[in-house]
Amino acid sequence: MKIEVNGVAHDVTSPTLADALTELGWAEARVATALNGDFVPKTARGETALKDGDRLEVLAPMQGG
């Protein structure tokens, strides 16, 4: 299915958010996720189903003021 990951179009085969993160290479990464603007806790990624057109944000720790 076609989803948007951090603003870039991706074609993923994984049915859930947890699997998609692995597919995208972030299985071990320290990241936080939001789907279509709503926070998805780490514990809920396994049961969060993805669908065509979803907007996924994968955020990491970054410098800030």
Binding site: R30, V31, A32, T33, F39, E57, L59, A60, M62
Partner: protein
Amino acid sequence: MRDFYGVTLDTPLMLGTAQYPSPAVLAAAFSDSRASVATVSLRREAGQGQAFWDIIKGVGVHILPNTAGCYSAREAITTAQMARELFETNWIKLEVIGHADTLQPDPFGLLDATEALAADGFEVFPYTTEDQVLAARLLDAGARVLMPWGAPIGSGLGLNNRYGLRTLRAAFPDVPMVIDAGLGLPSHAADALEMGFDAVLLNTAVAQAGDPVAMARAFALAVQAGALARAAEPMEPRDMARPSTPVIGKAWL
């Protein structure tokens, strides 16, 4: 030193982690600043996030994630929720920006987000102005700390509205307050502490100085001086001179 949601800081300095010339300079600046808190953010993972996380853990101070760049309560709330999981802290420096040029807070969005986040167990550090009415509303909404700006973020102008800040400090004497944003010089930081603010938060003034590590040391000394001076109860200024040398006993010449 007043406590911030149950945490007593060793020094009244909070330092940002952005805009340093290198990670090594960041680490050295933190060490010499003796800052008690490091502010951090969240951005789209592009490969550098994991290394930065290791640097920040190495600095060994309290972590205060921000919601920088959020222009709505909804964005800020989602960002705060992500920050809580990522950084494992209930602290959030809540920024809801209202204008791109001044980066001043949107008071309405800030209040909405403060209310929602405080109800959700967050310990909110709202980035606000010196507006006393907004301060009262933020406290009603559940904030236990306020972070009034000195001047627009990154401007280095110092304490832009001393009257407003003095009034705010006097109106809520028991609320921990951090002057956040706009400080450019150590003297601005000393000034804020002398006025009775509990801490200062700055980033650009150190990170963009010609020698960030030396500037970090200068700010460390300034906040120490300011806090000492405040505790020592400064004299009241007056308009007319008053001789400090005794008048009695002066010779008839």
